[in-house]
Assembly symmetry: C2
Homo-oligomer: 352 residues x 2
Amino acid sequence: MSHTKISSIGEFGLIDRIKKIVNVSVDDASLIDNLLIGISDDAAVFKPKPGKVQLLTTDAFAEGIHFDLTFTSLKHLGWKTIAANMSDIAAMGGIPRYATVAVSLPQKISIEMVEEFYHGATAACKKYSCKIVGGDTIASMANMMISVSMTGEADELKIKTRCAAIPGEYICVTGHLGASVAGLKILKREKERLEQANEKELFSPNLEAYSIALEKHLMPKPRLDISKILTEKIKIGAMIDISDGLASEVHHICNSSGTGAEIYEHNIPLDSITQKISEEFGEPATDYALFGGEEYELLFTIRDEEFAKLEKLTSDVTIIGRITEKSKGIILVREQGEQLPLTFGGWNHFRF
Amino acid sequence: MSHTKISSIGEFGLIDRIKKIVNVSVDDASLIDNLLIGISDDAAVFKPKPGKVQLLTTDAFAEGIHFDLTFTSLKHLGWKTIAANMSDIAAMGGIPRYATVAVSLPQKISIEMVEEFYHGATAACKKYSCKIVGGDTIASMANMMISVSMTGEADELKIKTRCAAIPGEYICVTGHLGASVAGLKILKREKERLEQANEKELFSPNLEAYSIALEKHLMPKPRLDISKILTEKIKIGAMIDISDGLASEVHHICNSSGTGAEIYEHNIPLDSITQKISEEFGEPATDYALFGGEEYELLFTIRDEEFAKLEKLTSDVTIIGRITEKSKGIILVREQGEQLPLTFGGWNHFRF
């Protein structure tokens, strides 16, 4: 990949390049039909689908905090910033529609790197039916920063919130947890090994064996598939996406709903690669699930009889606990029956 | 103002503080009535007004590029980032509705500074009827960064674009131009004087005499007032807001519309403070108007007979040129009749 300075074509030259990348066909023709004005004017203009409510969410990502360009390709970064916003839309019971992408670009970022970023973002949009319709490209003094905003649409009566959990409901998650932070740990370890290597040009990182965890960290998949089932076919209580770690999200649901919860530690779904990595680091794999971030799986509450229906539609959900009365607190139950308060934890980037 | 570290309350503590600031009453009750979910969940949810189209725009701002915290108060910064997005909505012929605000905060930014920022943003929202319904607060390794996204609503048939200019139409602007960059020059000059002062504690910046220009730079007003007139009562051609300097915006309209233009230099409206400042710096005031950025005035094209109507409704618009055939090029006409090509210029932050 060659590296051409952005200053050689300026902001408007760069926007022309970006336009060519993001204006690809999408499967859902209504995304194009309802878009009156895309990238080209002061604002994008679209027709909302009659009878639907509009969703709006924003997620921002900072170099050195959320990503490290020494082991994150710009293509993966583009994918992930779009996927993270889609995960928020999925957690509300909506479908993504239109996105704007603001990037602040330090001098080290070349035109080609920006193009890679938008190729990744566009790939996620194409895969999950969304369209980039605007944004901003600005210079940055030091680090790269990305902010994506996304609209979505939903049926008003099918909106899922954090505050609808009721004592007695199961607490469920989609997929497996802990793999994202496990993958990050491998990437950081290999970066450290490279830094310490005597002959850097001969260094080859040991990544192959961990590819499932790396993909989970670098190219997460928003769970629009399960969200669709939960919205269209099943009645659930509260829902949230797991972006800050399971413990933190359980607290959010309980605080918003005015309930307690018990989480059965041994029920937390962990895949074999997460267990392998946690063993290599001598750390409990459940800590990765409880306190690791950026899973982009869904956490929801559901009554027993609805779960019985759900099981017939997907095998990719696991019961990990029960909603309880508020007075019971938020409790982690260990395999031998020991109970301890589930600390808030979570992925707090402000712990400098 | 005391300065408390954000890490002492964490991201969720900070969000609670922000919620208290942004959740103020607004004059337009429909902003509250149509908002089903604001800051508190994975995404905001609102009902779009039936029969209207939705607008979506994003503007990002980087410390060291767009603002300098040594002479920009956080309150002004909050106001300006909201006002800049409103200006884009105004330029489309829409009215602002809901906004998300993503901020990345380096360690030097205290809780109180974040609160000041949101007080400023909320003041702009209250003044021009908009509501902050979400966002993201993230840490930053080095500089502060802000990205605001805003939705707006408009009648489909009244949307204003950049591409609707027709040869023969007047080119008009609202307000006066050049004051924003003139104000910035004063702020930079006083910062330099402070840096060079021997007894810094005795230094008093010379700002009083320039307050109109400073306010234009620090607290710009989106021209929703004129946009409303142009949308509801007058027929115009193309419209754009002046965020990158007049020359650049004229090029955008001509390139999108497939036309040329002639701009009469001596007709460009300059206020007395801009002329005074340009004289102090020994620079042509029209250069400030042509190549200075962040005016947030409107540039539009209009037929003669419609301008006659407009003049009766507002005195705050000025004819500065004519749209011509594309073959004529984009020309600046000086007072003595001299013609020269109007260079693209504009505020290109990528000229490092």
